[in-house]
């Protein structure tokens, strides 16, 4: 795309004029602008959904309590999705997130753990999440296992262990300080604590991906692992950290789920892996790695939760919900592609 610059032009101290005609990529489509187009199209989808909700059930949908509800329902899967976004950005996949959430939530709610109160539950949930992430990370980064296989193995074992621990029973939480976090009185300026945690995780995730060396390395490992290695990045350690991060997010999410449901059950986190992957991909994170967006993932999660909310408010059957959910995934991705192409001007 370089202009056949004449020597005279090359000697021009001002450099070549910036008005060279576009060739392969449009130089006006700066990366920032491109990401914005994508995010805008998602915002458009969300706005359309909000319009549908507002038109069909104006009183219930537009209430503050409903906003709190939607954000609370989005918070648990949202935290998982942040971790998933990092893993996918690095070219990996974590299919074990739902199982890790289940294992963390039951381990943290056994009678024995509950003896240790709030701290015991929180610590156990996070520690189990990080522990599972560590196993995933070591197997993938140092054991040379394919992420798909390693995390599917973790999925099976973590679910099995969760069942073993609970013996199929629902473990009810009796620690009041944990339960109290989930009720209205705990809201801070109208914001439920779980939503606050979600917001903090999203903000930290955004910073980590966009403003730190860790984020750059994640993108590099996902975009071109060989280039990352040649640039002196310890690719294997980076991969380990990424699965640890995903595990950490699962641990936090497990604690949030304990607060929300007041219990631990081995069936928790059912199909979280698919919801998290779908939200990240709809958000614009590239499944093959090398590009990731936390803002997009956030929007993806909010779109999903809003759909569920609108359907529940309109009392639609679950079969209809599932069909519509699938259709909306396809629509969101198509809209994105279209706006992206138009945004590029070709």
């Amino acid at each position: 795309m370089t202009q056949p610059a004449t020597p005279a032009r090359r000697n021009d101290p001002a450099g070549p004029p910036k008005t060279s005609p576009p060739r392969r990529g449009d130089p006006r489509a700066a990366p920032g602008a491109r990401a914005d187009v994508r995010t805008l199209s998602l915002l458009g989808v969300l706005a359309a959904l909000i319009a549908v909700g507002g038109l069909t059930r104006p009183e219930e949908f537009l209430a503050t309590s409903n906003l709190q509800l939607v954000l609370t329902q989005a918070s648990v899967i949202g935290v998982v999705t942040v971790g998933m976004t990092f893993v996918i950005t690095s070219g990996g996949i974590d299919l074990s997130v739902g199982a890790i959430v289940a294992l963390s939530s039951v381990w943290a709610t056994t009678v024995a753990t509950q003896e240790y109160g709030f701290t015991g539950i929180l610590f156990t949930a996070v520690a189990v999440g990080v522990g599972c992430g560590l196993v995933n990370g070591v197997l993938i980064a140092y054991g040379g296992m394919v992420p798909f296989i390693a995390t599917i193995a973790m999925l099976a074992s973590a679910r099995g262990l969760a069942l073993q621990i609970t013996d199929g029973k629902t473990q009810i939480v009796t620690v009041d300080s944990v339960l109290d976090l989930g009720v209205k009185d705990a809201n801070i300026l109208g914001v439920p604590p779980l939503v606050l945690v979600f917001a903090v995780v999203v903000a930290l995730g955004w910073l980590l991906l966009n403003r730190t060396t860790f984020g750059r390395r994640t993108l590099a490992v996902g975009g071109n692992p060989e280039a990352a290695r040649l640039a002196g990045i310890d690719v294997r350690r980076q991969r380990l950290y990424l699965y640890l991060l995903s595990g950490l997010c699962c641990g936090i999410a497990a604690f949030m789920l304990i607060v929300l449901s007041g219990s631990g059950q081995n069936t928790n986190g059912n199909l979280y892996e698919l919801d998290a992957i779908a939200a990240a991909i709809i958000g614009g994170t590239l499944l093959s790695g090398g590009r990731g967006t936390i803002a997009g993932s956030l929007l993806g999660v909010l779109i999903f939760t809003t759909i569920t909310n609108i359907f529940a408010l309109n009392n639609l059957e679950s079969a209809v919900q599932q069909i519509a959910k699938g259709a909306i995934i396809v629509a969101a991705v198509l809209v994105q592609h279209r706006t992206l192409r138009e945004g590029r001007g070709t």
Binding site: Q3, P7, G15, R34, A220, N224, G232
Partner: protein, 507 residues
């Protein structure tokens, strides 16, 4: 460090990969402030050697001495810390990151060790790009959106972002226009004046004459000559060392009959255009004929080939094979009609790198080699072997993974694929990019032989002598428009460069 001590001494370096002895006791000595040229055919071990230098491969044996001290280059970081920076031909940029991020990848300027100081990174990127004579590259742009030539500049900026004592450049000029090459050599001059040493790998002998101080020639994993004077060693000697033959590379003779004797055109392109890339192109291609397109990097050459092939959708015009129009923008339609493409980015666009030669070669002909969806593996293997032997692909091992092949042989694998498929029109985009002198002559002979068998060949190359030497007819392209068409024998390099460079004195 006494001035006589070499900056770098590598001795008896060996490196073995499964099935391949890539380095077999190589010696190399580089002095402070010199431009040391590394020559050798592809497969001679140059790439492996520079990867050892970059810390990306660990040698099996041998010693490395850096400024008089034994050292082990255990990792890319270790090499960078010593001040060795490497500019690879490919693979070393992350497309999803911005120019500034790529330049500082792995050593970002940070606050508190992890927060990237983006302004500083941008500023330093801008500085480095300006120093390289390319202030127009925006540090905020994604590398994915940059053309090959600008990527090369970014790679170079990245090398310079370290505190370097030795820069290794792997064919830096391959993707550059002549004036950009001048610019590159000016920078190399500046660097060497500052005492930085440069290891320069190139296939262009004239470049070696221009900037080289000394030459080391590799062949079959060994250094067959070290420290030859770059300016005075006769070309004949260098080529002989590289190839083991006593000849300069030559183009195969053109068949004597002229266009009038050829059959009617197999490929007709009528008014083909793509907005912003190239304008109304008319072209006729007859069986047995080689037509070349000459033009600068970015003049629309590759885009034309890809549009004919259906990989890009034209905004106007159509492509006809044997009088039948192809569905615009459909590769399937083009392949069915008998068009084959050997793309510029072989590794990214043409080959399944981890697969075997057989699997790569048979890819386009699988329907013919299978029954009811079952691949007849014996037939596949036999057919692939016939095709690869016909163009003497080395090694003659149908099970070798393509990634272990040298550049020239990878290109042959792509050609063999279309040979096996039995196509009528072959589109070649930079067929000799990354292929060295000895292997080039062989590749030229293969291409000419394919034409002699009745194939129509459309060739694109940034090297004017290649187009002039190989093609029968030449189209000269400037900024997407054909400015001249002539018999190759009626043109010379000077005239072509005049045409493509808008009347400015040719470099």
């Amino acid at each position: 460090m006494p001035p006589s001590t070499p900056l770098l001494t590598m001795s008896a370096i060996t490196k073995t990969f499964p099935g391949v002895r890539a380095l077999d006791g190589v010696d190399l000595e580089v002095r402070t402030g010199e431009v040391h040229c590394l020559l050798g055919q592809n497969g001679a071990g140059k790439s492996t050697l520079i990867k050892v230098l970059a810390g990306a491969h660990r040698p099996d044996s041998g010693t490395i001495t850096w400024r008089g001290e034994r050292t082990a280059l255990t990792s890319p970081i270790a090499a960078m810390r010593l001040g060795i920076a490497t500019i690879y031909q490919e693979l070393d940029l992350v497309e999803g990151l911005s120019v500034a991020d790529n330049i500082h990848l792995g050593h970002e300027p940070t606050t508190a060790g992890f927060l990237v100081r983006r302004k500083d990174a941008r500023a330093s990127a801008t500085r480095l790009l300006a120093r390289l004579g390319h202030p127009e590259i925006d540090p905020a742009r994604l590398v994915a959106d940059l053309p090959a030539a600008q990527r090369q500049i970014v790679s170079m900026a990245r090398a310079l972002s370290h505190d370097v004592r030795l820069i290794v450049m792997d064919e830096p000029s391959a993707a550059l226009d002549p004036d950009e090459v001048d610019n590159l050599f000016r920078i190399v001059g500046d660097l060497t004046a500052e005492g930085v040493a440069v290891i320069h790998i190139s296939h262009r002998l004239e470049e070696i004459r221009r900037i080289g101080d000394r030459v080391t020639v590799l062949k079959d994993g060994r250094a067959v000559a070290g420290g030859l004077p770059a300016k005075t060693t006769p070309t004949r000697d260098i080529v002989a060392l590289m190839t083991g033959r006593d000849t300069e590379h030559t183009f195969p003779p053109r068949p004597s009959p002229t266009a009038a004797d050829l059959p009617p055109p197999v490929l007709r392109v009528e008014g083909l255009a793509r907005a912003g890339e190239f304008t109304a192109l008319d072209l006729e291609l007859r069986p047995g004929e080689i037509v070349g397109i000459a033009g600068l990097v970015g003049s629309g050459r590759s885009e034309i080939l890809e549009t004919i092939y259906g990989a890009r959708r034209p905004t106007a015009g159509h492509v006809l094979v044997d009088g039948t129009a192809l569905r615009p923008g459909s590769v399937r339609s083009a392949v069915r009609a008998g068009i084959g493409l050997a793309p510029e980015e072989r590794k990214a666009q043409g080959l399944l790198l981890i697969e075997t030669v057989t699997r790569n070669v048979s890819l386009a002909a699988l329907p013919r080699l299978s029954r009811a969806g079952w691949v007849d593996r014996a037939a596949e293997r036999a057919a692939a072997q016939r095709a690869t032997r016909e163009i003497s692909l080395r090694p003659d091992n149908p099970d070798a993974p393509v990634r272990t092949l040298s550049g020239g042989n990878q290109q042959k694998a792509v050609l063999a694929r279309w040979l096996l498929r039995g196509c009528k029109v072959l589109l070649l985009d930079e067929p000799t990019r990354g292929v060295d002198v000895g292997a080039r002559a062989e590749l030229y002979a293969v291409i000419r032989a394919l034409a002699a068998e009745g194939l129509a060949v459309l060739l694109v190359s940034s090297e004017v002598p290649e187009v002039l030497g190989l093609a029968d007819r030449v189209l000269v392209l400037r900024e997407g428009t054909v400015v001249h068409t002539a018999d190759a024998r009626d043109l010379d390099e000077h005239r072509v460069l005049d045409l493509v460079m808008e009347g400015s004195p040719a470099a």
